[in-house]
């Protein structure tokens, strides 16, 4: 079966995208597989200025999941363009993940990436729970979300704009509709659930930042439910993620209506997992007799 998926103007060789913050700049994984084999790579969140991120400890293991409070450490867009992007093979499909603290800065970032041929699409992170400003507030308020999306769309040129939604909301459809109303070409969800882990002996949080974002299989039921809801609420392609660790999991997201998926924490369990998953998904789809993704997508009987 042909694994290709079309998300509006963005065509992916297959529905597997590595999730932002879990696959570095792709370079870290070149020893473990061929980046062009992936449907796409969402790069680590990038801001205008470099960010040092949060103090240590930044990660904690939880039952079937993990918490992170990296705080969007990144080299900044200039250094990224000068020192990272040139080394990423040209045949990889790259999605830049944008982070800023104001709509203006988001727009600025979009304008910079609009001119980068190697960048296939922009993902706007309005859902990071681990930074004090401009993170999840944008993703929890439909007006702020719309403001960021408009600012990005205005300057993104021809690049498709994906808006990444937070699960830490009462009704994810409200933000989804706001983002689409403001011009989002696609939505991706879910970012991490805000969570916490503590040490009863030291009486400290296991994260210096106190709270962090929960990812991994633990959150898959929440992610599936939200993707299911959002797919029904909007008319743009949806990229599903949250807890995917197998080909079955990928098909679950497509079954509830996702066009493509992102794979995050699974990359830590084994560095070639994303590459292997591409083959496993193809094999599973074949064994189920699926003729095309368009045929299977969203066919959940409810």
């Amino acid at each position: 079966m042909d694994q290709t998926v079309k998300l509006g103007s963005l065509t992916l060789a297959n529905p597997i995208i590595t999730a932002s913050g879990t696959f570095g700049y792709g370079l870290e994984f070149m020893r473990y597989g061929d980046l062009s084999k992936l449907g796409g790579l969402c790069l680590k969140g990038i801001s205008l200025a470099p960010r040092t991120g949060n103090p240590m400890p930044r990660i904690a293991e939880t039952p079937c999941g993990m918490l992170n409070a990296i705080g969007l450490q990144n080299v900044g867009v200039d250094k990224f363009l000068a020192e990272k992007l040139p080394y990423i093979p040209a045949d990889a499909t790259l999605i830049a993940n944008l982070y800023a603290q104001t709509p203006e800065d988001f727009g600025e970032l979009a304008a910079i990436f609009a001119h980068e041929d190697k960048i296939a699409a922009l993902e706007v992170n309005i859902s990071c729970p681990n930074v004090r400003e401009g993170g999840v507030q944008f993703g929890q308020d439909p007006h702020m979300a719309a403001g960021v999306v408009s600012a990005v769309k205005k300057r993104a040129g021809a690049k498709p704009v994906i808006v990444k939604l937070s699960p830490n909301v009462t009704d994810v459809r409200v933000i989804a509709r706001a983002a689409v109303g403001a011009g989002a070409d696609m939505l991706s969800l879910i970012n991490t659930l805000s969570g916490m882990a503590v040490d009863i002996r030291t009486r400290k949080s296991r994260l210096a930042n106190v709270v962090g974002g929960l990812s991994g299989p633990a959150i898959k039921p929440v992610a599936l439910r939200m993707v299911h809801q959002v797919v029904q609420a909007v008319n743009v392609p949806v990229i599903g993620m949250g807890g995917i660790v197998s080909a079955e999991d990928v098909l679950e997201f497509i079954l509830v209506g996702a066009h493509a998926v992102q794979v995050g924490t699974y990359n830590f369990m084994r560095p070639d997992n994303a590459f292997r998953l591409v083959d496993e998904v193809a094999a599973l789809a074949g064994s189920l007799g699926i003729g095309s993704w368009d045929e299977y997508r969203g066919t959940l009987k409810v």
Binding site: G24, V245, F268, R270
Partner: protein, 258 residues
């Protein structure tokens, strides 16, 4: 010798045996087809682990040869306890060798400062190097026979100090200070052990102006530089991934929290 196609592979457990103390386990995996430098590490994840424990676990390469990959580990939590239950024939996913190693100064004395299971990377070093400019000071809590101390002492001058009481710890600290001072401007120390010991080593290296390298054991999720969870703070105030820029760092390059 590194297979560039993919350095991630499933090795077979050849043996997994607690030592004379059950909290220290010797794990031998089938030969990985690569070699490495002392201080480098691997990420291990039994192929049959479910998802309850998400992360692989990092371990120093204790030794590697055509006979297999040897890991010496201490059971401290859920992951290491489950690793200790491995039986021959089971598969473990291994990626590595990873990170930067201990750099030996060929022309000057190198003093190994090992604490507890931190002795692991020096087994390979002592076997490989067999040099006259190497010696070791080993601090340990359990009785000496539980550790591969004799293996190292057979090749290089070694001494050991047991720490059972706070007084023992203070005494060890004094000796550390003396030895580090004695090497000021003349040689270097290579340290691996619990974090409190590394802090003491770093403090005396800076105080006495002695060159030193320390191997950090930060929590790691990926081992390949991607998650930014394992960072060490440089003296410039930046955070760098200890899995790729370390785990072995020059004491002058990084900070070690209070």
């Amino acid at each position: 010798m590194i297979d560039s196609q993919t350095p991630c592979r499933d090795l077979e457990v050849l043996s997994c045996r607690p030592g004379s103390d059950p909290s220290l386990v010797n794990l031998i995996l089938s030969a990985p087809g690569w070699t490495c430098r002392p201080g480098q590490f691997v990420m291990l994840r039994p192929a049959q682990w479910g998802a309850e424990l998400i992360w692989p676990r990092p371990f120093s390469v204790c030794d590697v040869s055509d006979d297999g990959l040897r890991i010496l580990f201490q059971t401290v939590g859920r992951g290491t306890r489950r690793l200790a239950e491995l039986v021959p024939g089971q598969k473990v996913t291994v990626w590595g060798p990873l990170g930067r190693w201990f750099r030996i100064d060929e022309s000057r004395p190198n003093l190994i400062l090992a604490g507890g299971v931190g002795i692991a990377p020096f087994v390979m070093l002592a076997r490989r190097e067999r040099r006259d400019n190497l010696s070791m000071l080993f601090g340990h809590r359990l009785d000496l026979q539980h550790y591969p101390y004799d293996e190292i002492a057979a090749s290089i001058p070694s001494e050991a100090m047991q720490q059972k009481t706070p007084a023992d710890i203070a005494a060890f600290e004094t000796v550390l200070s003396d030895r580090i001072r004695a090497l000021a401007g003349k040689g270097q120390v290579l340290a691996c052990g619990p974090e409190p010991m590394l802090k003491v080593v770093r403090k005396y290296c800076l105080e006495h102006g002695t060159d030193g390298q320390v191997s950090l054991e930060n929590r790691m999720a990926c081992g390949v530089g991607a998650c930014l969870g394992c960072v060490a703070k440089t003296i410039q105030g930046d955070y760098v991934q200890s899995c790729v820029h370390g785990p072995v760092f020059d004491v002058r390059d990084i900070e070690l929290g209070a």
